[in-house]
């Protein structure tokens, strides 16, 4: 069945360090920002989505704070950085089934202003069932992704230089984004010269830490056609989970293999039809693995694909993260899902910065990996179509 869900509004909070602001306040600001972008109001919203990092009881508390009083469909799915791609998928099903008409997704957090560190808020690590058997293991995500990078290098000959190219491409784009946390263009040499933090990952292989957030408004087709914004249809979506499977896992591919296949099948297109992709870039290696998982290149060729300049808009075959991505622009609350969706929609609308806008393309893709690729994680893929 052809999806009837359209993206009506998007908003990325311009802040990168929100001293003095509460998380709830940021949720309201992004909600109102996305509704204004759509040309809708609070009273139009009847579906609401947020993650476990939202204050209080998530959807209930936020509905009250923001002022949503017509809700008849809510979803508080939490899967780390990919939560919001799953929300888009779930909202589309709800709209298709007539459970709601106008779905609002919000995300906000302040790891910097609240000194929350590098972990996700709203997640109680002390109850993780594997924890008693791994108390000696530093839990930071960079070590998990460091291990993914090392294994990828071992199996496919991927090099630190190839990983660095992902950052170089992001920095090429970030120079045009006045809100980006890091706007300076960097070279492969500079990435490799930055301090080693989780060998083989350097500091510049890691995303930024920022406060902020963003929101999306999804509506059914009839409503979208009454609004004055460019029409962007959700053409397909998929989600999948992969984990350690009792210790039988390998981690040179992710759950993105399955979420991507589902999304492409639903959209009825292939990776060759995509010329812009927002790919989750918690670390440079995350992008490399996802490029392969989604079929943009063959297994093991992600490094070569990146180092051939393919990710740079106007140069390569697949522009990736033209907002500067999590590596340079924004990774609010240690979750990169919302900016991924927002930039994909900007690209579909033709509203990306002119220097990075991909011309004449019909489909864009956004993809995220939540939690940790080296153990359990949740992938979400969405494909948008400019109508």
């Amino acid at each position: 069945m052809r999806s009837q869900t359209f993206v009506a509004g998007i908003f990325e909070h311009p802040t990168r360090k929100a001293d003095g602001a509460t998380v709830a306040q940021l949720h309201a600001e992004v909600a109102l920002g996305a509704l204004a972008d759509a040309g809708l109001t609070l009273s139009d919203v009847d579906g609401y989505f947020c993650g476990a990092d939202a204050p209080g009881l998530g959807v209930a508390t936020m509905a009250e704070y923001i002022g949503l009083d017509r809700l008849r469909y809510v979803d508080g799915t939490e899967s780390g950085g990919s939560s919001y791609l799953l929300h888009v998928n779930h909202a589309a099903r709800a709209i298709a089934e007539g459970k709601c008409d106008v779905a609002l997704i919000t995300m906000a957090d302040t790891p910097l202003a609240s000194k929350g560190g590098l972990m996700l808020s709203g997640v109680d690590r002390s109850k993780l069932p594997a924890l008693p058997y791994s108390v000696a293991v530093p839990a930071l995500p960079m070590y998990g992704y460091g291990m993914v990078a090392r294994r990828h290098m071992h199996e496919f000959g991927t090099t630190p230089e190839q990983l660095a190219w992902v950052k170089v491409a992001a920095s090429q784009h970030a120079q045009y984004n006045p809100n980006a946390k890091l706007q300076n263009v960097v070279t492969v040499e500079e990435v490799l010269a930055s301090p080693m933090v989780a060998d083989p990952l350097h500091r510049l292989d890691c995303c930024v830490v920022t406060d902020g957030g963003g929101a999306l408004v999804l509506v059914r087709e009839e409503i979208a056609r009454t609004l004055s914004r460019p029409l962007v249809r959700l053409a397909g979506a998929g989600e999948a989970v992969k984990h350690s499977s009792g210790g039988t896992y390998e981690f040179t591919s992710s759950a993105g293999v399955r979420s991507g296949a589902d999304a492409f099948a639903e959209a009825g297109i292939t990776p060759m039809d995509i010329h812009y992709a927002s790919l989750y870039d918690s670390f440079t290696i995350t992008v490399i693995v996802q490029l392969e998982d989604l079929g943009f290149c063959a297994r093991g060729q992600g490094g070569v694909f990146a180092s051939n300049g393919n990710l740079v808009s106007g140069v390569g075959r697949l522009a990736v993260n033209t907002d500067g991505g999590g590596l340079c622009n924004n990774h609010p609350g240690n979750k990169g899902g919302i900016p991924k969706l927002v930039e994909a929609v900007r690209q579909s609308r033709g509203e990306a910065h002119p220097d990075v806008q991909v011309p004449n393309h019909e489909f864009t893709l956004a993809h995220a990996t939540g939690a940790m690729m080296s153990s359990y994680h949740v992938a979400g893929t969405t494909i948008f179509q400019a109508v």
Partner: protein, 516 residues
């Protein structure tokens, strides 16, 4: 297992079903869950099998052996730590850590073995170490035991010592006095400078009161002080630790010979002076011996016992026995500039400085040195010990030139004590911070030497430091300064804190096949 105290891990939460797991780790064994219907082992433990859903599972002993599936090295960890996924010999992969191992050499598929470390609640937590680290540790333990056994032989002809005089109450003399006092030797401390004596006295008394409160029923032996060297009369052993000046030390020994009995042993803590020349100036050269302590003298376990040409066997035996009775590891070395430990270190430092001229920076050389198993690198150590000043003074005597060290010296960069050396330091802090001024000076030094700087891989830095240590060690053995190659590894372990997991400089040389 390692030279440092192992860390205590956060306490794991215990639940009813995993009681056998913790009981096993307390015995030093790893057990994992096995599913009977699907005949597979799985990780992490839980009552049911996540592979088939059956509750028909049991605990089985695991070999504790496995291979590295992948790993990521934790930067700036207090001890070598890599987060790793280990594939157990029984099949399942587990996320864990590899510790106290040579992580620069760690590769995927390397063999590892489990070991257990305590958590805050005294549970034993499984972690892994490499087989090669385990091999190095066995070697380090064996050469240390061998060294101690050979030292013990000397006890047969050692003279009994109860009264010790230490001359010179500076930083070394103070530490030496502490070493004797804490091991129940009465000490008489002499310094020509009353103020130095008072400083030492209050430092030692504070140290002793800390010991007294820790050791039940211990009161500590007597400590006396004087500014008059003649009060050394009646001592059975005098350890001299005055300024590094041959004429001064000769004068001290001459004064001592006038008051002490002929059987009294005269030991010198000199680092650089010719002990044969010192002995030759005395009337009984057979009683002179070098007892070369390492700073801080009451902490570092190494004691080089320097054997001069005319030493009597009883003198040597007594020095060795005394060293053992104050808890030190005595290593007998012959007379040569720097003896064994410092001679190797000076050679290593020269190479380190040359690496700076060729393209390295202090922070790289120090980082690589730490990865080799040293608690600190050459430049951090020079900054800590005031090595820049020592270097300048030494070269004033020889006329040798060193533009870079002079440039640092002229800018008042004397090390930690001036807050700036090869690094800069925040007031009151000891962690080295790279400094642009030093980088600029190093670049200029390269230019002056006409050396075109290049980026030097860590691997090469390490190999060159290890090679120069091996070569100097080999020369010491060839010249007969040190009896056994293992003694050199003991020297680096006990004198400079070389970690067991990498064995020592000579062990490394053997691994690299540099025997000749």
């Amino acid at each position: 297992m390692s030279n440092r105290k192992p860390a205590r891990h956060p306490a794991p939460t215990h639940v009813a079903h995993d009681e056998p797991f913790w009981a096993a780790t307390a015995r030093g064994e790893l057990v994992i869950k096995h599913c009977l219907p699907c005949d597979r082992s799985f990780w992490y433990p839980r009552p049911h099998c996540p592979l088939c859903g059956s509750f028909d599972t049991e605990w089985r002993a695991a070999s504790g052996r496995g291979t590295v599936y992948s790993f990521s090295v934790v930067a700036n960890a207090p001890r070598p730590t890599a987060v790793a996924v280990i594939e157990l010999a029984e099949g399942p992969r587990m996320t864990t850590v590899v510790v106290d191992s040579d992580l620069a050499d760690l590769r995927i598929d390397d063999s590892v073995i489990v070991c257990f470390e305590s958590a805050e609640d005294d549970s034993m937590v499984p972690v892994f170490t490499t087989e090669s680290a385990q091999h190095a540790r066995s070697y380090a333990a064996a050469v240390l035991a061998n060294c101690e056994e050979r030292a013990a032989v000397h006890e047969a002809i050692a003279a009994p010592i109860t009264k010790v005089t230490v001359i010179g109450a500076g930083s070394m003399g103070t530490g030496i006095a502490k070493s004797f006092l804490s091991n129940d030797f009465a000490v008489h401390l002499v310094d020509a400078d009353q103020a130095a004596l008072e400083r030492a006295l209050s430092d030692i008394q504070e140290y002793l009161s800390r010991l007294t409160s820790k050791r039940e029923g211990w009161h500590g032996p007597t400590l006396t002080t004087s500014i008059d060297i003649d009060t050394a009369a009646g001592s059975q052993l005098v350890v001299e630790a005055v300024w590094e000046d041959l004429a001064l030390k000769q004068e001290i020994f001459a004064k001592l010979e006038a008051v002490v009995s002929p059987s009294c042993i005269l030991a010198t803590n000199t680092s650089t002076l010719d002990i044969n020349a010192l002995a030759a100036s005395t009337t009984h050269p057979g009683r002179v011996v070098g007892m070369h302590f390492f700073s801080p003298a009451h902490v570092m376990p190494l004691l080089e016992i320097v054997e001069g040409a005319e030493i009597r066997p009883e003198t040597l035996a007594t020095a060795v026995a005394v060293a053992r009775s104050i808890g030190k590891t005595p290593v007998i070395v012959g007379v040569c500039p720097g003896f064994a430990a410092n001679r190797m270190m000076i050679a290593r430092n020269k190479e380190a400085e040359h690496l700076l001229l060729e393209g390295a920076l202090p922070q790289q050389v120090d980082r690589v040195s730490r990865a080799m198993g040293l608690p600190m690198g050459p430049f951090e150590m020079l900054d800590m010990a005031g090595g820049i000043e020592v270097n300048v003074h030494r070269r004033r005597a020889t006329g040798e030139e060193d533009w870079l060290v002079d440039a640092l010296f002229e800018r008042g960069r004397l090390g930690q004590k001036t807050g700036r050396g090869y690094y800069r330091y925040k007031p009151g802090e000891r962690s080295p911070i790279p400094d642009q001024e030093v980088t600029d000076l190093i670049l200029e030094a390269s230019l002056r030497e006409g050396i075109e700087r290049r980026s030097i891989p860590d691997q090469e830095v390490r190999e060159r430091l290890e090679r120069v240590l091996a070569m100097e060690g080999k020369a010491l053995l060839d010249e007969g300064i040190v009896a056994r190659s293992g003694d050199l590894d003991v020297i680096w372990r006990q004198g400079f804190g070389w970690a067991d997991w990498s064995g020592g400089p000579m062990y490394r040389a053997t691994l690299q096949g540099w025997e000749s």
